[in-house]
């Protein structure tokens, strides 16, 4: 469902990704690991359509469509969701209002009517339970005054409500204590489905104890240097990343 071919990306004329090739099939959970500065978050941002990055070569096909030709909002409406590493605060706009506007714009794109108010409320309640979200949080302004953990949980909550086909988690584990990490991971696991593909980006192996991936890829200096199954993650946990940088490109 997602095919990245020979992707080269620069920011401010500085190359960051230097030829990424990666195929994600429907329903699979892939994890991207790598040291700081390896380009993990850049990959996520480029998939979501961030304009501050320049794609200098390569292509990304999403369900047979050229993803790079699509505006960020159209990618979202086509089912691409990114849980942000640093979720943004929007003052004065309630979480509930925001989510409903988002859901309705996605529905409109699909030619569907606006969501019924009661249906939306029960959908939201349902998903709140899944993420063990506090009632108060949903009526507060988007991420305003949220703790780091609450913000991350809110991202996964949005994911649950918007039901994307491709979910990208950009270092969702950073800033979470172990209890919050478990809740978030359980939420993600509950959302795993044969129709939903996950790309889980993380620096640490610990998240992958809870969200067990089908494949693990290691990114270093803008290239995938190693791919394997979940055992690769444990190996990295033991050895760290430094040894990889001397390995030949695999």
């Amino acid at each position: 469902m997602l095919e990245i071919r020979n992707l080269h990306v620069s920011a401010n004329n500085k190359p960051i990704l230097r030829g990424i090739t990666l195929t994600l099939k429907k329903g699979e959970v892939h994890s991207i690991m790598g040291p700081n500065g390896s380009g993990k978050s850049t990959l996520a941002q480029v998939l979501a359509g961030r304009e501050s990055y320049e794609v200098t070569a390569g292509e990304i096909m999403y369900d047979g469509k050229n993803l790079l030709d699509m505006a960020p909002e159209d990618r979202a409406r086509e089912g691409v969701f990114m849980a942000f590493q640093y979720p943004v605060e929007i003052r004065g706009v309630s979480n509930m209002y925001f989510l409903r506007a988002a859901l309705n714009s996605i529905r409109k794109y699909r030619g569907e009517d606006d969501v019924d108010a009661m249906d939306f409320l029960s959908l939201v309640r349902n998903k709140m339970k899944l993420l063990q979200m506090d009632d108060a949080l949903i009526n507060r302004a988007v991420n305003e005054g949220f703790s780091g953990g609450e913000k991350k949980r809110n991202e996964i909550f949005q994911l649950a409500v918007l039901e994307p086909r491709l979910a990208i988690l950009d270092e969702t584990d950073s800033g979470l204590d172990i209890d919050a990490l478990k809740i978030v991971a359980e939420g993600v696991n509950a959302l795993r489905s044969p129709d939903r593909t996950f790309l889980v980006i993380t620096h640490y192996q610990r998240l992958l104890n809870h969200i067990v991936p089908d494949f693990v890829h290691v990114l270093a200096e803008g290239r995938i240097v190693l791919s394997g199954d979940k055992s690769l993650a444990f190996e990295l946990e033991e050895k760290g990343y430094s040894w990889l940088e001397k390995e030949p490109v695999g």
Binding site: A76, G92, V93, L99, I106
Partner: protein, 481 residues
């Protein structure tokens, strides 16, 4: 694909949607200002002698004044002798039903989305519509009259309630107050008058739609609202203007008087023509608005949403004379293209235990310049006075400006003051976040700006709040409304 910054610029440069004008035969006086012109205005309006004398005194004083230039705005010199000071729709001047009104005028209101008959029927809003200088329609008057409420055009009030006018006219804004208020006192042509008698709670929102038409006609309205002891009234003022080439001077005066235990809530939506991309042709809006909490426990609350005009110079203020009186000012001011706004408030604490709240939200886009200017003054006798001030500025794009000039003068050591201020920029981060959830950049900006203004919008009557949000998004579509 355009960058967010480009998109913001495109949004900020949207055309004015209400740029049309109505062709109505106008009964006008020649341009220029002298005592004869003032006599003509007064005569045309059939005014009693005291009114003419007051106008002439104002005019003579005005001749001694100079136009003020302390505001943070720039504009070419105004030639006061080229302005036409009186213009009235020349067809029937007194109307009892909407059918008698010039169909073109009604059509203009329809374009503005404020059909009188619908409002009359659906909204329960009594509308005193000012078209150019003469009121052409007043509704619900009879229903209000049953309660003893007087709600009419200023001209009618001068003729039918001269004692009330004599007593309160200039009691809050004397003609000596400032250059523009003085000019208005000499030449004002019409406006609204409202009196709520003792103990009466006005059962509906009172509303006036102002509209400037006829080219080169300065519009000088005068509004006077008096809430007698224990009375309550909520007054709505909203306006848009047709597109014209030359700058139109608008120097209104609004006076509010609240006696013991009375409350006045005054809400404004202002959407006059802001000028073209270079700022040509927009309205100069130099308004003096002031309320006097004359009685104990009285309250005056100003809420304004300012999106129009090339230049806005406006400080709705409260004089808190009565003990325990309360003054409030809630403001959203949006400047885009070449618009300049210098707006804020003055809270003058005189009575004991007086309280005031100021919440100001300035939004700048395009080349817009937005200035908050406020004064909180606590006089020596104002024991235990309190003020809370919050000034927030938001910038869209990198060519606009936000400025804040908060003045505080305290002469009583028991005063408590709080001041909060912030400046933020709608970041690409925020817009991208919304886009990543499926919202367009335009919807994202509209949502973010409306969220920013929420604390002010919640002070508006429900219908008006919806309108204000729409207006902000429209102003920001190619600028928001």
């Amino acid at each position: 694909m355009p960058t967010e910054t480009q998109q913001i610029h495109e949004l900020a440069n949207q055309e004015y949607k209400y740029g049309f004008y109505t062709d109505v035969e106008a009964d006008t006086v020649p341009p220029g200002l002298n005592e004869d012109i003032i006599r003509v205005i007064s005569e045309k309006k059939g005014e009693p002698e005291f009114m003419l004398e007051w106008r002439l005194r104002a005019f003579r004083h005005w001749l001694t004044l100079e136009e003020p230039h302390w505001a943070n705005v720039t504009y070419p010199p105004i030639d006061y002798q080229s302005i036409i000071y009186y213009s009235a729709p020349s067809k029937k001047q007194t109307v009892k039903s909407l059918e008698e009104i010039d169909p073109e005028i009604l059509d203009t209101y329809r374009k503005l989305g404020i059909p009188l008959e619908e409002q009359e029927l659906l909204a329960g809003v009594a509308v005193d519509a000012v078209f150019d200088s003469v009121s052409v329609a007043t509704t619900f008057k009879e229903k209000l009259a049953e309660l003893g409420i007087i709600f009419c055009s200023f001209s009618e009030a001068v003729r039918n309630h001269p004692d009330l006018v004599k007593k309160y006219l200039g009691s809050v804004v004397p003609y000596t107050d400032n250059f523009f208020a003085c000019l208005n006192s000499a030449v004002f042509t019409d406006g609204s008058f409202c009196y709520i008698p003792k103990g009466v709670r006005c059962p509906m929102e009172l509303s006036t739609y102002f509209r400037i038409n006829a080219a080169k006609t300065g519009q000088f309205e005068r509004t006077l609202i008096v809430a007698d002891e224990g009375a309550y009234v909520s007054y709505l003022e909203g306006c848009t203007a047709p597109m014209r080439d030359e700058n139109q001077l608008h120097a209104a005066v609004v006076e509010l008087v609240a006696l013991d235990n009375a409350e006045i809530k005054y809400s404004t939506i202002q959407n006059w023509y802001p000028g073209d991309d270079e700022g040509r042709g927009g309205i100069y809006n130099f308004v003096t608005k002031r309320g006097k909490c004359a009685g104990v426990n009285s309250k005056i609350s100003w809420t304004q949403v300012e999106t129009g005009s090339a230049i806005t110079w406006k400080y709705p203020s409260c004089i808190l004379m009565g003990d325990n009186s309360v003054g409030e000012f809630y403001s959203v001011a949006l400047t885009k293209k070449r618009q300049q706004a210098d707006t804020g408030t003055k809270m003058i604490h005189i009575g004991k235990n007086t309280r005031s709240t100021i919440v100001s939200k300035g939004i700048s886009a395009g080349f817009g310049q937005n200035t908050y200017r406020g004064l909180v003054k606590i006089l020596g006798g104002a024991d235990n006075a309190r003020n809370y001030t919050q000034c927030d500025s938001m910038l869209l794009g990198d060519k606009c400006g936000a400025h804040t000039f908060p003045y505080i003068e305290i002469k009583n050591s028991t005063a408590q003051m709080e001041h909060e201020a912030s400046t933020s920029k709608i970041g690409e981060d925020q817009i991208f976040y919304c886009q990543q959830r499926g919202l367009s950049a335009e919807d994202a900006i509209s949502m973010i700006v409306n969220g920013f203004c929420k604390e002010v919008f919640k002070e508006l009557p429900m219908e008006f709040a919806v309108e204000a949000q729409k207006l902000l998004s429209i102003s920001l579509e190619g600028s928001v409304g």
